[in-house]
């Protein structure tokens, strides 16, 4: 058997699954978003769904909210993850415990974390009770709204909780693979601790941070159940809006849901593009 044929046969099952399910799903979504579906008699594609989406104020608020959730969560997670990785790369008593907790947290589904955040930060949650205990508040309503709130604080807290270990584990592996010699060189050439971090360690681990960030950003932009549980009713995060439109009793809203799905897909395509471009650049240098 020639290598060519072998490769094709080896790849065929996996590529069928991915092309049919993943790209097929995307394509059907794209067609439906243009109101084009010959099988059920829709033969005239149009832009009505997109016009509806882009003329609806809620869409803009939702988009802004989702972007704010993803951007803020990713940024805070990255900063804390780098800090945590710096902490964990040093040998000290108890490091094994923290390392285990780090990894434990990785296996806990987002949904469980979201419920935990709900019980911690809601107006009758653990923190509200602690505030009441020290007489900071009298009634639950006195506690600042941190879940179901317009700034999505609870959602961001949940993502930070889950993603700090995720990015941290990747960054830590990166640091351990690099060792400390590059930093030693910089110190010996006259760089201070801060300069060494800023000019040597950070650029060296940046590719790892970036690839982890891309995954985190895309995930937080497209996840449904966390904003569905912790988010305010209006504006809702983009995935929640898409799900609502899709399950609307009015079937006419379905193309709009598809249009929203396509917008989310386009944003993640941009993420992939950044990722590929950067990783290519790394390969070249």
């Amino acid at each position: 058997m020639s290598d060519r044929l072998k490769i094709i046969l080896l790849l065929l099952p996996a590529m069928s699954v991915i092309v049919l399910l993943f790209f097929g799903g995307l394509l059907i979504g794209l067609m439906r978003s243009f109101n084009y579906m010959p099988v059920i008699g829709l033969t005239e594609p149009n832009l009505q769904a997109y016009i509806n989406v882009f003329t609806d104020e809620e869409f803009y608020w939702s988009f802004l909210l989702s972007f704010h959730i993803s951007f803020t969560s990713t940024l805070i997670s990255c900063i804390l993850a780098v800090g945590a990785a710096l902490l964990l790369r040093r040998a000290f008593i108890g490091r094994a415990v923290i390392n285990f907790l780090f990894q434990l947290n990785l296996t806990v589904p987002h949904l469980v974390g979201a419920i935990g955040i709900l019980y911690l930060f809601s107006q009758s949650g653990v923190f509200a009770r602690l505030a009441a205990e020290v007489d900071l508040i009298q009634r639950p309503a006195d506690f600042p709204a941190m879940v179901f709130d317009p700034f999505a604080i609870g959602i961001i807290l949940q993502y930070v909780w889950k993603e700090v270990p995720f990015i941290g584990v990747i960054v830590l592996a990166n640091m351990q693979a690099l060792g400390e010699n590059y930093e030693s060189v910089a110190r010996s050439l006259g760089a201070s601790k801060w300069q060494t971090f800023r000019h040597v360690l950070l650029p060296l681990i940046f590719p790892g941070i970036l690839s982890a960030s891309v995954i985190v950003f895309a995930f937080t932009f497209g996840a449904y159940e966390i904003p569905a549980l912790l988010g305010a009713n209006y504006p809702a995060a983009l995935p929640v809006l898409a799900y609502r439109s899709y399950t609307d009793v009015d079937l006419a809203a379905r193309p709009e849901a598809m249009a929203l799905a396509i917008i989310i897909a386009i944003l993640s395509a941009v993420m992939i593009f950044i990722y590929i471009r950067y990783s290519r650049k790394r390969v070249r240098s």
């Binding site: 060519r4 080896l10 923290i98 419920i115 709900l118 019980y119 205990e133 982890a212 449904y224 992939i272």
Partner: protein, 274 residues
Amino acid sequence: MIGQDGLWTKTFRYITCLLLVTWLVLPLIPLAIWSVARGWFFPDILPRMWTLDAWRYALSDTSGVLDALWLTIGISLAATVLSILVGVPAGRALGMYKFKGKEVIELMILAPTIVPGIAVVLGVHTVFIYLGLTNTVHGVILVHLIPTLPYMTLVMAGIFSNYDPAFEAQARSLGASPLKTFWYVTLPAIMPGIIVGGLFAFLVSWSQYILTLLVGGGRVVTLPLLLFNFATSGRNDITGAIGMIYILPGILILTLTAKQLSGRSGAVGGFGRI
């Protein structure tokens, strides 16, 4: 370690570590307490009474929690086995061969790990309606392949890129048939990858919510769906109990594979989807 740290730095490090540990376990604590609490109202810091009622209810035949548990295990196992069967050959092609268009293939396999499920599942649902796969377990298993298969393939590609096919040639020249060669030479060599990749695929499938919700149409009730329903209906005690059951496999898998999860493995990317 470069140089020596002062007392101040050490104290700072211990305090931040303490904060980190607290933060890492914090959200799980109220869930655990709720699962054994009765009448835990504002502003009580701890419940007035402790009870195993929520656990008794969750583990009873009537609550549907056990049904959901078995169903979730079944779906995740099926998705994992299918991912292994399909992902191992693909991983072999990507890990061992250089060919034209390989980058495109890799990109196509990478894409589902980044594109969110909601962007794809609406279209998939539309098609599954015509295929009669909506509201069925089969449909749910199939749609779970979208997030699980890429990880399996990427993990196996990593394994195969460090694999020397000369061992297979050696076995053949010693008289082993292709099947025996696979069974006695290839399989043992790639087994660690299959196990790690498989456990990841299982966890990724285990944590799916929106794919199950849409394709299952509310008829295929897995644990996360049940958990979400109880969480939004305000039954905090039962939510706590289900939550505890739901995170158990992850902890189990972690203790089994802790050494493999060093972040250098391609599998860690899978955590982004759990």
